[in-house]
Each structure stands twice: as structure tokens, then as C-alpha cells.
Symmetry: D2
């Protein structure tokens, strides 16, 4: 697979910005295979993503960083350059439902998700079988009524030990404490089994059943201290009817969850998401 | 067009129910062109709709009612029989947005919606042009800060005068008073410009924009005293992205509104909807 | 899980038919949890499916068959009664793509698909790992330029040996010979990676890319001698754009394939599909 | 409404291209409100669209053209600059079905489609009522078995007389002759009532009904001499089932037709479509 570099920028919109960045890239012979721009006209903020053939650049990644820094400073940019060659390490958190976990694992195993799965952490021991099948380290962390802080400390420690770049809550049914949310800000993705902001909180399919909606969905979002309120990356819906029981909704919703989560993870891994306030720009 | 009768039943589920109804229909030579059944397993309630060729029955509609009444009593049925030949009279309420109004009018004019449009009532006088084009009586009812009760009285009176069977709020931006909601219970349909229960209340597209959702929608529901909380008949969604402004969402949402409203009205006119508690069974 | 019986009927439409069947069921105390009817007005053919609590019937399945036979004869019915307790044996055929295979296996393993997986047969040996993970017998059948008849004989023999009720071609990339198609008529399901009838035949995603369509899809259908022309059970689509390469389409299409195949298999296993000519009635 | 200029470019991909264009725009103080890029990696072709606030430029549109011409020549660009202030003149062609015609008219009347409707030409006189309602010139052109060349000459003449920039076939059921297709190349849009390439040609809903597909659709495409084979701009689909008759499909399909056509026209009017071979790049 061809390796690429991704240059991600956001900053106040200014005339000359694109010209400067493009000139910089052209000077160093960047072969651009994908370029995306977005101006938020309401806030006057600008977003930009370039994907560049790694072997086309006439300077190293380090030299790129050095050379680009003054430009970034001039335009007050938030920016980063990432290399597809440096695979993200992903920690997967799961509870007793396996569909999202197995879906992510198979997409990774078949090469669709370009990352390393560092470890699987679950509060249900039967998830070990999937970790074993895919040859991934597994850690069972027990959650009891009176040990939650310790359990979360254990999780935080594992994430650190594995130097995980991204934590994915693949239907992990425990609410992360504030401190962990903040530690993982912008680096933890959750899948909520409703079309947020509808049916936040517990038992969303039962809520949907009781309200009598005609479509249900799933929401992939970044984890924040405000439960189910983080920046949304992707959503998916499916049509239902009166003939669907709450159990039918669970079954149909699972396909939404898998799809929305898989897309959200891929967008993140390919540096297609820029968080801005409580919203995202997704160059899908 | 072939005329039909529609027999709509809901009652506690019981063994022998379908056999009895089917036997009754067969005895009277009913040629059934569509039959739908639904059992709500959670509440043990049963729902049934038959559509019958009107000319196949060996007894009149009145005789049908008389003959069926003891059966209905025995099984504790809510039931009705309606004739497609007796067209519903529909009153349309509108404000300054014309897309839903014109969409309903054209579907009626082209024969898709089988009803009579009794009148158009609007609190914006420019809606008169569409009423004139389609040859429908128009009534302008002014809403000012201090005349709302009188204005709604006027609307209630018009609905009565026109003997309207169904009132459609085609983006009518005034909140109906409780008394009118109760008077029109099960006979008034609203289109809300969000995917309820998300973004109930005012300015849903702006709310959606601020929350950063990735799909927006519209909800067609029966009007009840609890604003935006009535039984949902139909919902529609469309995908959006960061590149859509709130104005883009308004434009994209309009297509959802038109589609969801048109389907909801058609289901109601064809007696395909059974309200049960705060939910609907829709034999679409 | 509650066990059910499913009574599936199709026959020429006649007055009294439903009454007779309903009366029969009521007489034997059948507790009906789902009932579906469909009349094809163009051909005058009638379709009916009842799902009945197995423990509610006052006669055995064998007695049911005996008692119902004269009714079926009178109305010229095609009919069958099946028991959810008797799980279908499914043979899975695969080639080198694993996404559909693994998806079906996980849905079976998690209980969503209520069947037994009898065996996996593949013409690529690396599929064995998935068979091993899920503890399913695996058979590698090599396909070479000059051994296709023998290879298919081997497959036919395996299907017989395992007494497979349903054969699923989970992206099996070999064209079944006529004789095998006929032997498995109505008992073999394929997933084609296009929205049929568009892009039948080889390399559908490449065809879609070249035609410049804006949506791609997948089609789950019964296998017949006419390649890609069998009765369609389910289809799924996803939006694409000019920015999607043929490889992107392959990735996006896989999710359609998995969803459409899983739904198609479930409908078949739950006896929700009635084949009529080259079309299907699906009581979803 | 804020006026904009749109700079549309396609050319062989080259390093320095974006830098040169961006530098040119920055030099002339262009305030870019939307920028889109696409590189077709298979053909090495590059596509670019800029939307610029018209009042931000320090040079006139004519001076822009003069100044940009040498750059365009150097990079072998196909290019154009268009002004939102100069509204396109649109000729609408219709037959006996009014849903697309009325939908386009209302979107234009309500300001969603930013164009002038030059005239309506129809081979069914009853379309005149809609022209009259919207105050648009109407021309009835009769089509008989033996006058087609003359009828098309008349249409060609009307298009010329009205100096129409875009011709929209809003369910116009006559096949345009080659000469007219060529004369209107890239300036005539058709809506076909199927999900192309499925069911090209006549009676697509009947074809769909007979094939038993589970989704139907509509395709908005540029008119070319190869009937139903022109570059696709937009497609839309809707789910159907065995319970939908061919007439139901017609009704459901109409909503797809209206939506796909409206989007296609808007994309064209806003210069969001670049035709490349038999495909389109649509910067939606």
C-alpha cells in the first residue's frame, strides 16, 4: 500500500492562506492525492486536509515540520502532520455485547481499518474468546458496585501501558469518569445505540419503542464528560414499524451501530475528523 | 377507480377472533383486496384492517354495520367501517412557508390524495395565491400578540363550518390551544421539522446545526395537547455534513417534510392508521 | 426461546379461504403471534403466513398435517408447516473474501440466525481459520481450470452428506452448474455485489465505477440456472460520489452485501419468503 | 442574496497548479466561501471549483478572464467563470405527467432554484394551466406519428428564441433526435424513472414490477444521443415490497424523480457539475 502523509490544519479564515500552504507543498514537490477545504461562514473558521504521497516529498517529515512551523505560526494554525506508515494503536473496550467488537476486529484483520489493535479490555470474561481468535491481548477488568474507581484506574493504566492512541468503546456499558474522559479527550470514540440527541442515556431501544418512532439509529461520537453529548462523527438509521418489538429494534439497531462505529473509527484513523467546539468537520 | 370499504378493528387479542371476522366477511361474499393483522405481544392487543371491494358485498354498508355490531360487542372491539366513495373533507392550515401546502395541493389535484380540500386557512395572506390557483376557498386569520384566543376561535369555527374531517397543519407555526387539540383529537395531523423526539420546539434546524448531527429529518404526527409529543405516523431523514449551513438544512429538510407529511395524510385518508395510546399502528 | 410453528400457504384467491384457515386454527386453540396475508391482484394469487405458539396447539404437528390436508386439497394450496424447534442445517460456500462468511458466522454464533451451520466449503484454504474459530467442519475444494465438474460433484456430495437444508453462497465466486442449481432450487441463496439487474456478471463494482452511478448496492437472491436472474429476496444500497474509487466502492459495498445477505438468510430461515414465479413475497 | 463568482477548472493534474490558482485568487483579494478539489487518480485528471464573494474581488469579471487566460493556457485548463448574478434561462419540456414540472416551478417560485424559467413547452395542452399559474410563457407542440421532425424543429427554435441556457426534460416522453442532443450537449437534463442502468427504456416501473426488485429509483442525467446513457448527476431510491403494485411504484417513484431532478438542476445551476467523459464530478 502506498504510504501517505496527512496535513491537517484549522485556523481563522484569511486571504492568502490556501496560496501559502499550496505554494509550500508545491515547492517541496508534494503529490497531493486528496485535498479538502471547509470554511465555516458563521464563525469564520477554516479547515483543511491534504493527503500527500509520502515518497513525493523532497524533505523528510521532520524537516517538513520545521519548515512549516513559521507558516503555521503566522496564520495561527492548529495543525498536525501524520504518516500513514505510523499505525495508530487502538484499545478496544467491551462489555457483554460482542457485535461491535467482532465487527471492528474483522475489519482490522481484513485490512479495512489500518491500525494495530493493542488490546481488548472487557468487564465480561467471555469476550476473551474473540481476543484469542484474533490473537490480541485480553484483560478482564471486573466492575462491581463498590470498585468502579479502581476498575477505571486499571483501565487507564492499561491504556497507558499499551501506549494506545485511540480508545474505542465498542458497546462498553460503563460510564467513564471525568478524569479519564479528559485524559482521552479527542482520543476516545463511543457508539451510542440511538440517534442522538434522541434517547440519550440508558435503554435507548426501549425508549424508542415506547415513543413509537418510525426510524431508529446509532451515533458514533467522541467521549466527553457530558455523557452522550460529545462531538458527533457519524450517525446511521434504519426504518422500523409497529411490527418491530423492542427486541427487533435491538437486532436492527446493531447493524446501524456496527456501520456507524466502523466509519467513525476509519475517519479518525485516516485523520479525516477535525473537532471544533462540540462539532466535527469530517472530510469523508 | 374501484370503490372499497375498509373495516378497521382493534380489541384485546382472543382466539377465534379472526375466524369470526373472516367468516362474517365470507358469508357476505366480501372480496378482500388487502388484509393486515398485528398483535402487540406486550399488551395483548390486536389490530386488523380489511379493504374490501365495495361491489362484492351482498349487504349494504348500513346492514353491514347492523349485522356486525353484535360481533364487535362480543369481542370488545373498537371498530369502524368506512367507504372510499365518501371522500374526507380536509382543512389545510398554513403560515408563511408554502412548500408543504403546495405539495399537498398538487398531490390532491393530481389524484394521489383521495379527498376533498375543504378550505385553506392561513395567518399569512400571501398563501391566498395558491388557494386561488387550485380553486380552494381561502381564509386569512390574522394572529397578533393579543388576539390568539379569538383567532383560534375563528379557525375552530371554520373547521366546523366546512365540516372538515381532517385538519392538516402544513407548517402552521402557531401552537393550537388545548381545547382545539382535544376537539380535533385523532383528526389533526402536524408536520414537525425535526426527527422527533430530537429538537422538539422552536427552530429545530438551528438546534440540529448547533448540535452537529449528521442526519436531519421530519416527523408527521397527530396533534395533541403535548406539543410535538403526539402519536407519530411517519418520519423521514436525510444525510447532511459539516458543509451544510442551517439554511442548507432548511432546504434539505423541506423535502423530508413534504414526503413525511404526504405519506402521513395518505395513510390517514386510507384508514391505514390506528392510534393506540401514544403510538400508531400503520398498515402502510 | 418460545417455540413456534409456521403455516405457509399460497393458492388461488378464493372467498372463504381465510375464514376456513382461521376457523381451523381457532378450533385447535392456535395462539397466533403473527399473521400476514397478501393478494396479488394481477394474478389472483393468495399468500398467507401464520406464526403460532407451538405449545398452544391442542394437536401434534403430525395430526395438524393430517387434519389440514383435506382443506389444503379443497383450496388447491401449496403449503407447509414448519417448526422453529427443528433448526435448518446450513452449508456455507466461500471463496477468498471473508466478510460475508464471518458476518453470517457471528450472527449465528450470537443467536441472531436461528440455524445450525453444518459446514463451510471453500475453494480458498485460508477460510479454514474462520471455520476453526467457530468450531465448524471445513472442506477445501480446489477449483482448477480442468476440474470444475469434479469439484462441483464434491460440493454436491458434501451438501448431501451434511443433509443441508440451505446452501448460502457467501461471495462464492464460482458459477454453479445447472444440475446443482436445479437440485438446490429454492434452497440456495446467493449475494450478488450489485443492485441487480444493474451490473450483473463479473466485476460489478468496476462496472459501477465506469458507469458513474451515484448509488451502489447488493442483491440477495435465490440461485437459479440463469445467473443473477433468480428471485430477489432483499437489496441494499449506499450512496457514493465521484470521490469514491472502485476500491472505495468495494469497501462500501461490503456493508450492503453483509446486511442484504443476513436479512435474506433470516427471512428464509423464519419461513418468511414465498417464491412465486421469478419473484418473492417476503413477510418481513 | 450575496452574489458570487464561480471558477470551474479541470485539467491534467500537475504540481503547482493549486498554488498558482490560489495565489492568483489571493492577489486579487478573493474571499473564497467554498472550495472543492478532486483528483481522479486513475486518469490523472484534476477538478476544481471555487465560489468567491463577487464584491471581494479587486478586478472585474472581464479583467479576471483576461488575467487568468495565460495561467489557464499554461496548465491546459478547461475553465469558466460564471456569476450568480447572471441567472440561467431554463426551458422546461413536459408531457402529460405534471409532478416534476410543478415541483421545479414551485422550487423556482420559492427561490430555491436560482434561475429564470424562460418557457414551458409541452406536447399535452393541459400543462398550460401550470404555466399560467406561474406566469410563464407556454408553447404547445403537437407530436403526431408523422410530424416528429417538424415538432422537434419547433422545439429547437423555441429554445433558441428564448436563448435558453438549460433545457430540462421534466418527464418529457419523446426521444430527442441526435442533432438536438448534440446541439444541447451539457445543457439538457433528463429525469429517467428508474435506477439506471437498470430498466432503461420504456415502462421502467412495469419492468421493475416484473423483475421483483426491492428498491426502485430515479436517475437525473445529461441528455446524450445514447438514450438513458448520458452522464449521471444524481440518483434516488425508495424501498418497495411485494405489496406494491406497479401503480404503487409509480406513486413512490414520483418522489424519487422530483428529488433527484431538483438536486440535479440545482447542482447544474450552481456550476457544481463537471462532465468528464461519460461521468460527472459533482461538488454537492
Amino acid at each position: 500500500m502506498q504510504q501517505t502523509l496527512r496535513l491537517i490544519i484549522d485556523c481563522p479564515d484569511q486571504i492568502g492562506l490556501v496560496a501559502t500552504v499550496s505554494q509550500f507543498l508545491a515547492t517541496h514537490q508534494a503529490n497531493i492525492i486528496e485535498a479538502n477545504h471547509h470554511t465555516d461562514l458563521q464563525t469564520g473558521h477554516f479547515f483543511m486536509r491534504h493527503e500527500i504521497r509520502a515518497d513525493s516529498l523532497t524533505l523528510s517529515e521532520q524537516d517538513f515540520e520545521r519548515a512549516f512551523t513559521p507558516i503555521a505560526a503566522k496564520y495561527h494554525m492548529n495543525w498536525r502532520i501524520t504518516a500513514s506508515a505510523r499505525k495508530a494503536k487502538v484499545a478496544l473496550l467491551a462489555s457483554h455485547e460482542s457485535h461491535c467488537l467482532v465487527d471492528v476486529l474483522h475489519r482490522w484483520h481484513s485490512g479495512e481499518l489500518d491500525c494495530d489493535i493493542a488490546c481488548i479490555i472487557a468487564n465480561h470474561p467471555q469476550m476473551k474468546q474473540f481476543a484469542d481468535w484474533y490473537g490480541v491481548p485480553f484483560h478482564f477488568v471486573e466492575f462491581k458496585a463498590d470498585n468502579k474507581p479502581q476498575a477505571f484506574n486499571q483501565i487507564a493504566q492499561l491504556i497507558n501501558e499499551y501506549q494506545s492512541d485511540l480508545t474505542v468503546l465498542a458497546r462498553f456499558m460503563q460510564i467513564l469518569p471525568d478524569s479519564l474522559c479528559q485524559q482521552l479527550a479527542g482520543r476516545a470514540i463511543n457508539i451510542h445505540h440511538s440517534f442522538l440527541p434522541s434517547f440519550a442515556g440508558a435503554r435507548p431501544y426501549q425508549q424508542a419503542y415506547e415513543r413509537g418512532v418510525k426510524l431508529i439509529g446509532a451515533t458514533c461520537h467522541y467521549v466527553t464528560s457530558d455523557l452522550d453529548e460529545g462531538p458527533i462523527i457519524e450517525q446511521e438509521v434504519v426504518r422500523i414499524s409497529h411490527s418491530d418489538s423492542a427486541a427487533d429494534m435491538v437486532r436492527k439497531g446493531k447493524d446501524c451501530e456496527k456501520t456507524a462505529l466502523a466509519r467513525g473509527i476509519r475517519y479518525h484513523l485516516e485523520d479525516r475528523v477535525i473537532i471544533h467546539g462540540n462539532k466535527t468537520v469530517v472530510f469523508a
